[in-house]
Symmetry: C2
Amino acid sequence: MLTYTSIRELRERLREWREANPKGKVGFVPTMGFLHEGHASLIERSRGENGLTVVSVFVNPLQFGPNEDFERYPRDPERDAAICGRAGADLLFAPDVREMYPKKTITKVLVEQLTDRLCGASRPGHFDGVGTVVSKLFHIVQPDRAYFGLKDAQQVAVIERMAEDLNLPVEIVPCPTVREPDGLALSSRNVYLTAEQREQAVVLNEALGKAEEWLAEPGIDAAGLRERIVAYIGRAPLAVIDYVEVLTYPDLQPPDSVAALHIGRGSRIIVALAVKFGGTRLIDNRIFG
Amino acid sequence: MLTYTSIRELRERLREWREANPKGKVGFVPTMGFLHEGHASLIERSRGENGLTVVSVFVNPLQFGPNEDFERYPRDPERDAAICGRAGADLLFAPDVREMYPKKTITKVLVEQLTDRLCGASRPGHFDGVGTVVSKLFHIVQPDRAYFGLKDAQQVAVIERMAEDLNLPVEIVPCPTVREPDGLALSSRNVYLTAEQREQAVVLNEALGKAEEWLAEPGIDAAGLRERIVAYIGRAPLAVIDYVEVLTYPDLQPPDSVAALHIGRGSRIIVALAVKFGGTRLIDNRIFG
C-alpha cells in the first residue's frame, strides 16, 4: 500500500493507474481515521468490488462545531495504515489541514431539509462541513463507488441526495453497521468511554431492538414509540438523551400516519438515537422496511 | 456533431471516447444558448486546445429571480446547433429542465463573499444557481478545461474560486469579451434592445475606455473614478444605472487605497457596470493590471 499526503501526487498516481486500466473501477472509503472493524469492513467490500481501493484519513475541522472535539478527536496514523493495509487498501490518502484548506474555503456545499433534524439540529453547520469535504474528496479521488457506514445513516442520506442533486459520477454504497459482541455500534469515539459508561452504552442497541418489537404492534404511532424508547434508555443511569427520533428514510420527515410506520408499504422508517455518556456523544439507528 | 438531450447517453458517449483516447483532453463550453460570436470564440478556442469539445445549451431556471426573464429568455435551438457545428463542437448537450432537475434540488453550491456584490447584490440567489448548475454540468461532462467569457467577470471569479475550493479537476479558462464593431459587448440579451437603446448602449464600453484614461491620473481614488463614470453614463438619456463599481479582482473587494488603484503592483482592478435600457439589463467590465 502506498501513502500520499499530497493531492497532486495522489492524482498523478490515480491518472497512471487509470491509463493502465482504462476499464478499471476505483472504490473509495473516506474516513476520519482511528479506524476500527467497521471501517475495515468498508475497505474489504471495496476491495472485492473494484480494481483499486483508496482510503482517506482526514479529520475535517469544517464539520466540528467550536465546542466540539476536533482537537481531542482520537488519532493514530500508524495503526490506521496497518488496518488499511490488512483490509486490502491500495492507496492511503492522509493530507494535513493545510493541504485540504490552503486558504479558508468560501465555497460551501449545502443539503437543505435533510440537515435540519437529528445530528444537524444538535450540531449546526456539521453537515455543511461534511458535504463540502466529501465533495472535495470526490473531486480529488474521482471514485466510481464510495462506501459509507450506515451508523451515520443521516450522513448516508445527505451524501446520497447530494450525489443525486449534483449528478456526481459516483455510486454511493451504504454498508451495515458493525457491532461489538454485546451490540454496541463500533465508533472511534468509544475509546472515550469509562468502563461504567461502556457497560451502559449497550442500551442504545437494546432500545433499537425493542423498537423493532414495538413497531410490530398494530396501532402504534411515532410519538408512542418515541416515548417507550426514551423510557427504555432511562434505565441506564449515566445516559443523557440528545435526541430520539422516528422519521421516514431517506427523506427524514415525520411519518404522517400510523400506517406509515408499518412496513412493507414502500416507505422506510428510521429510529435514530443520540445519547451522551459524560462528554461522549454516541449515535445509533435502525432502518425498518 | 452529435446532439444529446439525455445525461445517460452523453455520459456513455464520453466514456467511449475516453476509452478510445485515454490521454485525450475534453474541453467544455457551458452556455444558456442563443449563441453569438462570443460563444463561437470559446468553442473555437476549446477546439484548438482539446481532442473533444462539448457545448451545453441550458437555460437554467435556478439562476433567474422570480421577476427576471427566464420565460422570455431568447431561445433558438436550430441556430445554436448550426453555430456550434460551424465553430467546431463535437458534442452538443441540450437537456430540458426535467432532465437536469428531475426533482427539486435541495443541494446548493454557494460561494460566499464573492457573490454579495455586483450582480450578486442586484440578483439575489443568482450565483447560487450558477454555482449549482455549473457543478452539475462539470460532474456530467467531467471536462479537463472549461471556457468562460470575461463579460461575466464576476461569474468567472466565482467559478474559479469554486473550482479551487472544491478541488474540481478542471482548468477554468477565462476568455476575452467579443464586441460589436462599435464596442458593444455581445450578449444574448442585446436582441431585446430597440434601435434607439441599441445606439445608446455603446456608452458602457465608452465609459470603460474613459475609465482607463482616468485611472492613469495620479491620485485618483475609487470613489472619484466611480463618480466620473456615473456622470459619463448619464450622457445616454435612456441609460438607468444598476451599479458602477471599482473593485479588486478576483477578490471583488473595495480597493483599500489610492495606491491599490495603480496598476502593476500585483493586484488587479475591475471596473464593472450594469445598466438598464428599458427592461433590458446589460453588463460590461474591464480588468486592469
